[in-house]
Amino acid sequence: MVLLKAILRPDKVDAVKEALVALGVTSMTVTEVRGHGKQKGHTTIYRGKEYNVSLLPKIEVEVVLPDHLVEDAVQAVIAKARTGEIGDGRIFLTPVTASYRIRTGELVM
């Protein structure tokens, strides 16, 4: 079992979500986050003063996948989220040792 965490451009989330659902991923967590990698950020102006906003709005999608789906899921996210410009985001994979369903208390594999 693997936790796939993807940091995405906000306008790519719908396409990624649809692609993951098409692969049979039934559960996901989506969070509005801010951050930056190599992307420079944008300039804003308030009351005549310029600011560089380096922490840009992104969406973080987290899904827990059975091992056999991981490669397909990664490729699906890349296919749907890529624009080719700096700021397309990152995918992180983390092993998951156990998962419990709170409603029933059962161990889910």
Binding site: D14, R34, H42, T44, I45, G48, K49, E50, N52, L55
Partner: protein, 428 residues
């Protein structure tokens, strides 16, 4: 000159002016959070550009004598518009009152093209539109033009304001094109309370719009005031019932929309119909707009905030129903179909058709002409980032820190006034 009339019109003018910021809240709540400032600015900017265009050129085109089609240039720069009376109020006040109508009519169009039109192209469009489209139609109906001579009833602007803006919105949505991610599940309103706030202030301002259109502090103003209070109530009740029947739940966006549709529909009729007719008119007006909204969302027409369904259709229904419910016994002007004058209905339909045709054709020509000179749309990346940052360099909601003040102020970056910046900070 009548002091009571003047006092009421001073207040009405301020009331109608407030409707444009109210519209900004109504529209702003309905867009995504990355576009809210841009959507609101599209209304606010009309206060400036269209307001100036009106004073310099527009008032003359709409209200100077001219011919049956358009006014003339005798009032350019408000020449000869002073404190002398126009009717029973100062001429300048009449000019200001009419300015507020022109401003909001132009701003109404923005609902059809939010979230993708370039701001600069939009400003050019509405400024020219106000002069080329709004002013002649205002002249036809209120400035002594051909529709008023024909006996068309439009108390406060059902055709001039709402049919006109609705048709222009339809054309603009088609010419500018749909948003890149339309239709998509995520094009949702980001702040419904804003929309309710906007609807509430619109209703408040609309008392100036309709009751002020009596241009007097008298019984007709009270009649129009009553209609303005009761018609949206009728629409709201019917709309809520439709919501409950259709989805089981009365929605807040539906409530805000119903209020606007009711106000739009009663606008042409306000000073001509009795209170029970106003309720009936408001209630009836709910049906076409309610179903048009549902149908529109299933089509490829990205009239994003449904200007066509609310204003175009609501205004048409109101103008036609004015020809049904108008009652001479109320203010002595004309009877409609229900009171033995079916001919009025034909006159009303003519007024709607003529305004719609002129607005549609001229809006199309204007947009094509502007589009030939400058891009009408924001680029794909700007649209994806959001128009707040890309068009205005601002964000409406800053949730996290992470903005760093740049060492160079804009003036220094341009190589200018170092001394001014220092003097400014020293003065604090």
């Amino acid at each position: 000159m009548n002091q009571a009339d003047t006092a009421w019109m001073l207040i009405s003018t301020a009331l109608v002016l407030l409707m444009t910021p109210a519209l900004a809240f109504f529209y702003g709540g309905l867009v995504r959070s990355k576009n809210v400032l841009n959507a609101m600015m599209m209304s606010f900017i009309s206060l400036g550009f269209v307001g100036i265009a009106w004073a310099v050129i527009g008032y003359s085109l709409a209200f100077a004598p001219g011919n049956a089609i358009v006014g003339d240039v005798s009032r350019l720069f408000l020449k000869g518009v002073g404190l002398e009376s126009n009717g029973t109020i100062p001429h300048l006040l009449f000019m200001c009152y009419q300015a507020t109508f022109c401003i909001i009519t132009a701003a109404l169009i923005s609902g059809a093209i939010v979230e993708r039109m370039r701001f600069s192209s939009y400003v050019v469009f509405i400024t020219l539109w106000a002069l080329v489209v709004y002013c002649p139609i205002a002249h036809w109906v209120w400035g002594g033009g051909w529709l008023s001579k024909m006996g068309a009833l439009d108390f406060a602007g059902g055709t001039v304001v709402h049919v006109n803006a609705g048709v222009a919105a339809l054309v603009a949505a088609l010419v500018v094109g749909k948003r890149r991610d339309y239709p998509s599940s995520s094009l949702l309103p980001h702040n419904v309370p804003f929309t309710l706030l906007g609807a509430g202030i619109l209703w408040f301002g609309w008392f100036g719009f309709n009751a002020g259109s009596a241009v007097a502090s008298n019984g007709v103003a009270a009649l129009a005031f009553t209609a303005t209070m009761l018609a949206p109530a009728g629409t709201l009740v019917v709309w809520t019932m439709l919501d409950i029947v259709r989805s089981g739940k009365p929605t807040a966006v539906g409530c805000a929309t119903a209020i606007v549709v009711g106000l739009v529909a009663i606008t042409p009729a306000a000073g001509y119909v009795g209170p029970m007719s106003a309720i009936a008119l408001g209630g009836l007006a709910a049906f076409p707009s309610y179903f048009a909204l549902i149908v529109r969302a299933r089509t490829s027409l990205d009239d994003s905030l449904d200007v066509v369904a609310a204003h175009g259709l609501g205004g048409t229904v109101g103008a036609v129903l004015t020809g049904v419910f108008a009652q001479k016994a109320m203010n002595g002007v004309a009877d409609g179909l229900l009171f033995g004058n079916p001919g009025q209905l034909i006159v009303q339909l003519t007024a709607v058709a003529a305004s719609a045709a002129y607005s549609g054709v001229m809006s199309l020509i204007l947009l094509k002409a502007i589009g030939a000179v400058m891009p009408l749309r924001a680029g794909a990346a700007d649209e994806a980032t959001g128009l707040d940052v890309s068009q205005h360099g601002e964000e409406a909601y800053i949730h996290a820190e992470g903005a760093v003040a740049m060492s160079n102020s804009p003036s220094q970056a341009l190589g200018g006034s170092h001394g001014f910046a220092q003097g400014h900070s020293a003065a604090r």
